[in-house]
Amino acid sequence: MPQLQAFYFVNQITFALVALFTITYVMSVYVLPYFVQLFVTRVYITKL
């Protein structure tokens, strides 16, 4: 398996960390707060 060859370990860890942080950032800043907003809006408009 090419992943197990020692030459590309730094390459792999770099991309893994960048991807993890990108996913975390996008999810927590853009996606998941939208769901909180959706739930709050649902509760709000049913309380009217």
């Binding site: 030459f7 860890i13 853009y30 707060p33």
Partner: protein
């Protein structure tokens, strides 16, 4: 971005331990690769892109 607005989610405050851990892991992997490349087996491997020795061309 893509019709979604940015929310003021705190990023650094809850994630700073993970950032330090990532840096440490990166350093460890960096050292591990360096050590592995020094090994006798890897130094003469034609697949090694870091090899200093003249390449045979692979085929």
């Amino acid at each position: 971005m893509f019709g979604l607005r940015a929310w003021p989610t705190p990023i650094v405050k809850p994630l700073w331990p993970f950032m330090i851990g990532s840096a440490l892991t990166f350093a460890g992997v960096w050292k591990l690769q360096n050590v592995a490349l020094q090994s006798e087996e890897a130094r003469n491997d034609p697949k090694n892109p870091f090899a200093k020795t003249a390449k045979s061309g692979g085929h």
